[in-house]
């Protein structure tokens, strides 16, 4: 017999395969947050003085702020004093290590996650920075990148080796006062990646950071800063996983992208934090501020995200299009199942002339999940000939989930052309029966429909990630020869 709604829901559910815990000796701060903790954190990282000042300024401002409550989310109150703000695997000495000094237990962890870090098995053509709880444990291909002038290292290392660059750019896109979680991040961030692509360089390989939360009762606060100087080009990928735990854990990251004249950054995310169990217990609270500034003429930023994990996702990767002819793109697939909640979207701020932006958002909601698209397209007075196209579609699987669409469009320029479309539909039993009647199993049919629904986004992902993303959604790649 053909499938009922429940069976359709089952077809879309998958076990969380990255939920194991790595047993390691760690150095972990006791829970709690005050100026002393921040000073200790800054000291342990041996940071230049300006950083401590920056952190304290952010912390003082954060204390005056309130948790935002405007999103379509039910968030249990977070006790910020119950979180530990630093946890790192113990090492023999301080400072960056070479790969063969890395704890084999850690290498094993990344291997298990499909990210081999050791010399022989490295992914060809992809340089990886592996961030484990509060610290970066390894970065591959550093030497090869250095040859062409590309800096790719943990941000803590960048603060030692290139403090002037960090000082020049940090917080210039997302100021420490920007919002509650950005302020908290500025105060306590521990690690993350730093990328600088010099003028005219096309980065010879994909750069990627793999974030892993391992320790219990800690928060992960990472900071990523990418600068693409004039005429340069880089493609950057990030992936995220965490063990299965019954408590919610906080992940509050800030990502800043800076794009100069004729430069391009392509930023892809496959977010697979632990989503909690089928009863809504546990899971990561993913509160992230990501913003790109297209400062130069003809600059371009492209955000692509596949969001399948986290108990709660609160995330709006944005583009500020300052330079004339600059381009912003946002491609997103957000899948929520069981009790997951996602409130995600983008902001496209058109300031320069002839700027254009594209938003393609696909939300899939199953189980008792709530999935919200929230977006802003803003065209300033001077943004002559601004163009935006937005398509946001929702797919419902089952009858207890919700899909919501909250776009904001604000236009102050008569030559602007803005187009926004949204649809909501469901995977129906009729569609599945039709496919079955053509000899295709219900499983394959769901996979085909979901893939068809998402393909405009998947085609934006680099190959390795497209495969991973499709595996995460439990769907197969559509035959490229005839598709």
């Amino acid at each position: 017999m053909s499938s009922s709604t429940e069976e359709i829901e089952q077809l879309i559910s998958q076990e969380y395969k990255q939920g194991f815990v790595t047993e390691l000796e760690t150095e972990t701060f006791p829970p709690g947050l005050d100026e002393e903790v921040i000073a200790k954190l800054s000291k342990i990282k041996n940071e230049p003085d300006f950083m401590l000042e920056y952190r304290l300024k952010a912390f003082r401002h954060w204390q005056t702020m309130k948790n935002p409550d405007w999103a379509q989310l039910n968030v249990e109150p977070i006790d910020y004093q119950a979180i530990s703000y630093y946890s790192a695997p113990k090492r023999k000495e301080d400072g960056p290590q070479s790969l063969d000094e890395v704890d084999p237990e850690l290498l094993e962890t990344y291997k298990k996650l499909g990210i081999p870090l050791d010399e022989q098995e490295r992914l060809a053509g992809v340089a990886v920075d592996a961030v484990f709880d509060s610290v970066s444990v390894a970065t591959t291909f550093k030497g090869k990148l250095k040859d062409v002038g590309v800096i790719f290292c943990p941000i803590s290392e960048a603060l030692q080796e290139h403090p002037e660059l960090v000082k020049q750019y940090l917080g210039t896109v997302v100021p420490e006062t920007d919002n509650f979680f950005a302020a908290l991040n500025a105060a306590v961030f521990t690690d993350g990646s730093f990328v600088y692509i010099p003028k005219g360089v096309r980065c010879p390989m994909e750069l990627s950071t793999y974030f892993r939360i391992n320790a219990a009762n800690t928060g992960q606060f990472e900071r990523t800063l990418i600068i693409a100087d004039e005429g340069s080009h880089v493609s950057y990928l990030e992936g995220c996983t965490a063990p299965m735990r019954d408590e919610n854990q906080l992940h509050a990251a800030v990502v800043e992208l800076i794009v100069m004249d004729n430069a391009e950054i392509k930023y892809s995310t496959v977010q697979n934090w632990y989503p909690g169990d089928e009863n809504g217990v546990g899971g990561i609270y993913n509160f992230v501020t990501k913003r790109a500034e297209c400062r130069g003429h003809n600059s371009k930023v492209s955000w692509t995200q596949v969001e399948t994990g986290s108990a709660i996702t609160w995330k709006y990767p944005s583009c500020v299009l300052l330079g004339d002819n600059s381009v912003g793109e946002f491609y997103s697939v957000a899948l929520t199942n069981n009790y997951q909640q996602a409130d995600t979207g983008t902001k496209m701020i058109h300031i320069g002339k002839n700027t254009s932006s594209t938003i393609i958002s696909k939300g899939i909601s199953a189980g008792k999940a709530q999935n919200t698209y929230r977006g802003l397209v803003k065209v300033g007075k001077g943004a002559e000939n601004a163009r935006n196209f937005t398509q946001c579609d929702s797919l419902l699987v089952g009858d207890k989930c919700g899909a919501h669409t909250f776009p904001y469009v604000e236009v102050k320029q008569p030559s602007a052309q803005i187009e926004h479309e949204a649809t909501t539909s469901k995977i129906s039993e009729d569609q599945l029966f039709f496919c079955q009647q053509r000899g295709i199993s219900a499983e394959d049919a769901v996979s085909m429909i979901v893939n068809g629904f998402c393909k405009e986004v998947f085609k934006e992902l680099p190959m390795e990630f497209a495969v991973e993303a499709q595996a995460l959604l439990g769907i197969s790649l559509e035959g490229s020869s005839v598709g």
Partner: protein
Amino acid sequence: MLSIKNLHVSVGEKPILKGVNLEINSSEVHAIMGPNGAGKSTLAHVLSGKAGYTVTQGSVTFKGQDLLDLSPEIRAREGVFLAFQYPVEIPGVSNIYLLKAALNSIRKHKGLEEVDAMDFLTLVKDKIKLLQMDEKFLYRAVNEGFSGGEKKRNEILQAAILEPALCVLDETDSGLDIDALKIVADGVNSLRAPDRSFLMITHYQRLLDYIKPDFVHVLADGQIVKSGGPELALELEAKGYQWIEEKAA
């Protein structure tokens, strides 16, 4: 090929089919006619395994095996093809992709090699001419934005490619103007073969002017109340269904 014996089917508590008997041999074309609500579409759905129907009595065997035991996709792979009365739209899935996935799952089921993209394309382009369809249809999402007539033609195209043993055509003529009906009928006629039989379900006699049946059955209130040759259809056209219903009562 198909043998239906004393088939009783209910939807929820309500009996719809009340003892249907029907034998279809290879190469035969059968037409089932009847008033609205007689159970015509129920019969088509039960043969293809749609959920929501309970078989309370009787049996259906297809090529010697118990059809009712099989999942919808296995029935389809074994060669039961249903041309839907209301073909569904599947946004985002291209027609050609559905066709290729369907054909290869049938071939796999039969232990044959999957067809490669080039051979497949040649095959499809050949068949699409038959239905006088534009090649562009292949790359559009399944039935999305198709007119009623285009959807029905698309159903027959799928039959032409999947080459089933038994074609069940459920109200294939409804929603078609006369020109489209001729094209669909030509398509169906070209599919006639010694190892293939047809079960046409229709409310209107018009279809039978273009696809000549070997046998005509009248379904009323869940039972086949009268069977005969093509002349029965003409009699129905002249006298209306009331005639049969009165006789049955």
